[in-house]
């Protein structure tokens, strides 16, 4: 395994050099492109190259092998760390008795899928995940939109407010978690509990020992965490989009005596729709993949050690994957984890397609 890794990196380096050499050998245009490439990121560089090659179809036919060589470093890395694991996951999920250590497949079958789909824990994980998606995604987008519009309409100290809202984006996750745990401390001195006590209620165990946390409280904390966590980026994207909208639309609306609410729903939202679609899809995927936030809030067991109250879909996959080396049934668990991953993948795929289709009519580009 280690040997393989070293070999890979060597191959990458040598092909990189090779790509450079080709560029030097090549025509002037390629050299110019080399300069440009310096400024772009690694992946953007590759993309640009692809585009350029595509635009020169005639030359492309002659120089396809040059193109391939230029793309090689990227392709090799992607192949080893992305494509190969995806394909392997797909294959392994259909071989219930796949042995991880010996790399033997055994017989083909759908047992892993049956096991996953009949597992109560899997359905709990899916339920939790769907709740997080359904509650946190629309809520966070709506809140981000409102904050953005307010932020944009403020004239004085706009820069200061922008900095305040963007700060979480550059803040360390640990600092973030510490602040959060103080706000939602299960003790009476926690910020939220202080407020509840002041209003005459009794303290709620928001975080801490899993057995003590009521289910709804856990979901509330996760949702608020998810909204807060993603807010800065969403505001950043929306603010960019909002400032690109021609001011004359608003002047025209003003002349036509359009009420503020209608300006928001009939002008701002439709004109921001490409941004909203982008944010919706990315945050949907993000919500489906939520795992680290749950671990951060409720520990590695994702709730109670027996029933994993707050387990998520990705959490479920990791749980089985982690048990591969520790459990006696290790091999079959890897197949099960793979099956669960594929089910989640199909789920996200379907939802994204539905979303794209539904938005086709609504999104104005």
């Amino acid at each position: 395994m280690v040997e393989e890794k070293v070999m890979t990196s060597e191959a990458t380096v040598s092909s990189d050099k090779f790509a450079g050499a080709i560029a030097l050998d090549g025509t002037k245009t390629i050299e110019v492109q080399e300069d440009k490439k310096e400024k772009l990121g690694f992946f953007a560089r590759k993309k640009k190259e692809k585009k350029k090659e595509a635009s020169q179809m005639l030359e492309w036919k002659k120089d396809w092998w040059k193109a391939l060589l230029c793309l090689a470093p990227c392709l090799i890395i992607l192949g080893i760390f992305t494509f190969y694991p995806i394909i392997k996951t797909f294959i392994v999920s259909f071989f219930p008795s796949y042995n991880y250590l010996r790399d033997t497949f055994g017989s083909f079958g759908f047992d892993s899928y049956v096991k996953v789909l009949t597992d109560d824990v899997f359905w709990r994980a899916m339920f939790n995940t769907v709740i997080m998606v359904v509650v946190s995604v629309p809520l966070s987008i709506l809140i981000a939109l409102l904050i953005t519009v307010l932020l944009n309409s403020i004239k004085k100290l706009q820069g200061v407010y922008q900095v305040i809202f963007f700060l979480p984006y550059v803040t360390n996750g640990m600092a973030f978690g510490l602040v959060f745990s103080t706000i939602f401390s299960p003790m009476d001195y926690g910020l939220v509990n202080t407020i509840i006590n002041a209003l005459g209620g009794s303290s709620v165990a928001w975080t801490g020992t899993a057995e003590m946390i009521p289910y709804w409280a856990g979901i509330v904390v996760i949702t608020i965490y998810a909204i807060w966590n993603g807010l800065a980026f969403k505001i950043l994207v929306f603010l960019g989009g909002l400032q690109a909208i021609d001011k004359q639309y608003y002047q025209a609306a003003q002349v036509d005596a359009t009420p503020k609410g209608r300006v928001f729903t009939k002008i701002t939202v439709p004109l921001l729709s490409p941004m909203i679609l982008y944010i919706t899809i990315t945050s949907l995927m993000g919500a489906f993949k939520s795992y680290s936030s749950v671990v951060a809030l409720f520990g590695e067991d994702m709730g109670n050690a027996q029933d994993e109250t707050f387990i998520t879909a990705v959490g479920y996959i990791y749980k089985y994957f982690n048990q591969v080396t520790t459990s006696s049934r290790g091999a079959t668990l890897l197949s099960q984890a793979s099956a669960a991953a594929l089910i989640l993948f199909v789920f996200i795929l379907i939802i994204t397609f539905v979303q794209m289709w539904a938005n086709k009519k609504k999104v104005h580009y």
């Binding site: 002047q251 003003q254 002349v255 036509d256 005596a257 004109l271």
Partner: protein, 455 residues
């Protein structure tokens, strides 16, 4: 609805200092008329329009719609329709939704709004495009949608910001007639802004010529063209632009580049206006018995002026055996007796003063005759230049451009001159490059050096 602008001023405060975009302008726009605000870019015409719309707050002055002062009202309370330069149609709404948008704001019922939208779509001629999105329309169609959207709520005043600038030349001709037709059909008071004089002249009932935030002239287009109040207006209107010749007026006739032009104009008017005093050339001022300017002396001040000069004298110097003539400079001073006269013209208040050589016979209260020369600009529109063998001015033909219906002759005063002028002459007239021909002016204006019209 009559629109009245009183002392309207807009000052933009910037870091580098205040910029006066509109400077105390007064305009009366009669009800139901189409009025064009015309001027070069940066003249304050768009700022004026946006102040009428309420999108800019005036620094000073008032805006009246009829009897109401609307200066303090926000745009939505003024009852205006505004068509933006780039139309500002909502790209995500269909043409119909765009037109009904202002009506829905007024909580009008859907069916009613649709019927109204159709009515106005028909007026502007886009009833077949109601289900399209703005992106699927041509520039001209988009503009009609924008006009329909502005008109549908039946505004008292319709404002158009550079309505034709985003259209190509052919469409522009067509659309400007269309705008005129729509305005006439709806009878709405319309104010539009343009930098294109041809556009403004062709469709406006009245034009307002502006520059540097100041109104130069307001009037019916043909009148403004025929009788510009100053050189700016004369230069701004007309293509090809008016020719401006440097001339010198000596009280009797005007000379152009050394050629005397005896032109049939009422010289007494020019003399009477007194404006010729402004551009006078001091060295040319003389007291003569038959001078054209009659003035009354108010005060005489005698003084002596010391003139220092050097006189060259030839001195014979002995150099060895030969005599050589050497030039030597000798400084001399001479006292010249002079007088400063203060005088005024009969029936005028202004008092002028000038220095003259001493003349004891002139006393306070005397009527004397003066003559002097004044620098003037003579403006002649290209179509008012005629080729006339007996014409007073002889010019050199530099170039001839054929247009079809007529041709443009480019000429200058003498072959070596660099400054060229344009004349539009009939195409059948035989004129060749290199000819020297005589021309005459059918109509011309005389402006002083500051651009103020004299006659």
């Amino acid at each position: 609805m009559e629109v009245k602008l009183v002392n309207l001023t807009k000052v933009f405060s910037k870091k580098e200092g205040d910029v006066v975009a509109v400077d105390h302008i007064n305009i009366d726009i009669p009800s139901g008329k189409l009025v064009g605000l015309l001027g070069p870019s940066g003249c304050g015409k768009s700022t004026t329009l946006y102040m009428i719309a309420g999108l800019h707050r005036p620094t000073e002055g008032q805006i009246f719609f009829g009897e109401n002062e609307v200066s303090k009202y926000p745009p939505e309370k003024r009852g205006i329709g505004l068509v933006f330069q780039n139309y500002a149609l909502y790209p995500h709404l269909t043409v119909e939704q765009n037109i009904t948008f202002p009506l829905e704001n007024q909580k009008m019922k859907k069916a009613e709004a649709k019927a109204k939208a159709y009515e106005y779509a028909k007026i502007v001629g886009i009833e077949g495009l109601l289900n399209r999105k703005p992106g699927q329309l041509s520039g001209g169609q988009q503009q009609r949608v924008a006009i329909a959207r502005a008109l549908v709520k039946q505004p008292d005043v319709l404002l158009l910001d550079e309505p034709l600038s985003n259209l190509d030349a052919r469409l522009r001709l067509q659309t400007r007639e269309e705008i005129k037709r729509i305005q006439r059909e709806t009878g709405v008071t319309t104010i539009f802004v343009t930098h294109d004089q041809e556009e403004a002249m062709s469709i406006s009932d009245e034009i307002v010529v502006m520059n540097f935030g100041v109104v130069h002239q307001i009037g019916i287009p043909q009148e403004v063209y025929n009788e510009p109040v100053d050189m700016f207006v004369a230069k701004f209107l007309g293509t090809p632009p008016i020719n401006i010749f440097d001339g010198i007026f000596d009280g009797r006739s005007t000379r152009l580049y050394g050629q005397t032009m005896k032109l049939a104009y009422d010289r007494s008017k020019l003399l009477e206006s007194g404006k010729t005093f402004k551009g006078l050339i001091p060295e040319t001022m003389k007291i003569t018995e038959n001078g054209p300017y009659e003035v009354i002396v108010d005060k005489v001040e005698n003084f002596t002026e010391e003139i220092k000069a050097e006189v060259n004298t030839e001195v014979a110097v002995e150099e060895g055996k030969e005599e050589v003539v050497v030039e030597e400079k000798t400084p001399i001073t001479e006292d010249i007796k002079k007088m400063k006269l203060y005088f005024h013209r009969n029936g005028h208040e202004e008092i002028y003063s000038a220095n003259f050589p001493c003349n004891d016979s002139i006393k306070v209260g005397d009527t004397i005759h003066l003559s002097f020369k004044t620098e003037v600009n003579v403006g002649v529109r290209p179509e008012n230049i005629v080729v006339d063998p007996k014409g007073p001015i002889s010019v050199y033909v530099d170039q001839v451009e054929y247009i079809g219906r007529d041709k443009t002759m480019i000429f200058k005063f003498g072959k070596e001159e660099t400054k060229t002028f344009k004349a539009i002459i009939p195409s059948d007239l035989d004129v060749h490059v290199g000819d020297t021909i005589n021309i005459n002016f059918k109509r011309f204006f005389i402006f002083d050096k500051e651009g103020v019209r004299l006659i």
